[in-house]
Amino acid sequence: MKQRPSAKLQEGLLAAIPNLRAFALSLCGNSDRADDLVQETLVKAWDKADSFEEGTNLKAWLFTILRNAYFSEFRKFRREVLDGDGEYAARLSVHPEQHGHLDLADFLRSLDQLPAEQREALILVAAEGFAYEEAAEICGCAVGTIKSRVNRARNRLSELMQIDHPQEFGPDSASEAIVLGGSLASRGGV
């Protein structure tokens, strides 16, 4: 007999929406798709309410549902097909009141270049603050696997950031000018 979600669980679902959306967008890089994933997650959570043990980590339970939904679809469609060019940036730039969104967009573009498993592990541990053990449970893999994914994600991001921000690591204004000039020229801007 299916149980209606308790008032407490309903409240928890509502409260988790912002984090679910952020996680979904981090995973798929497409805001429409991300919102679809969150809606799917909420419906599934509602329908499976009786399989949730009150008192356990609701956010971890919801994240598990969401990432499973994402990866089951991910196997059918390649991410590259779903992902619009610069979708993060486009979405974020409609909120100009927020500070530093250009840097944020750049950073998300780097994040976007990580393999899905590494990006997921990094977000769960470094951004959401899940313990390695919790992240491992959410992803259905060993703790050691999560640790190594997080490490690889960090290392890869470091490399990407070095490429994206040459002026920070090798202050060479001449080569910077060439890079900028080149990208403008390639767009027919100069």
């Binding site: 209606r4 309903q10 679902l13 509502l14 929406i17 912002p18 984090n19 959306r21 952020a22 967008l25 981090s26 919102d35 969150v38 809606q39 909420l42 419906v43 509602w46 060019d85 610069g86 940036a89 974020l92 909120h95 927020q98 530093g100 969104h101 250009l102 840097d103 944020l104 750049d106 950073f107 998300l108 994040l111 990094l122 977000i123 470094a126 951004a127 959401e128 960090r154 991001l157 470091s158 950031m161 070095q162 994206d164 921000h165 002026q167 920070e168 910077e176 990208s183």
Partner: protein
């Protein structure tokens, strides 16, 4: 896509941070008692030691961790569209309708 228009923001941050680290050292020598500005750097640290301990990869790791958290919290703080409230209302309504039909 528009490329960066504000290069090196975090580079500036890093410079500021470095200055902040150097400041208490100068302060400590004249005993102004401003060491609370940067508790993690002891006054015995030499400039060379700081440079050596300022391992590039650790620094980068910190920068990435904090950028990640900043970026992610911006995502979390995006306003939630009404459609999610409507969905939860629909789910509630569906349960209620189901119950009425049964009774």
């Amino acid at each position: 896509m528009a490329k960066r228009v504000e290069p090196g923001r975090s580079g500036e941050d890093r410079n500021n941070e470095q200055q902040a680290r150097l400041r208490p050292r100068a302060g400590a020598s004249v005993g102004t008692g401003q060491s609370h500005e940067e508790d993690t750097v002891s006054s015995t640290d030499t400039y060379e030691n700081q440079q050596r301990s300022k391992d590039a990869s650790a620094d980068l790791g910190d920068a990435i961790g904090s950028q990640l958290r900043t970026a992610y919290s911006e995502l979390v703080n995006q306003p939630v569209p009404d459609k999610f409230m409507m969905l939860l209302e629909q789910l509630k309504k569906r349960e209620n309708d189901g119950k009425e039909r049964k009774s």
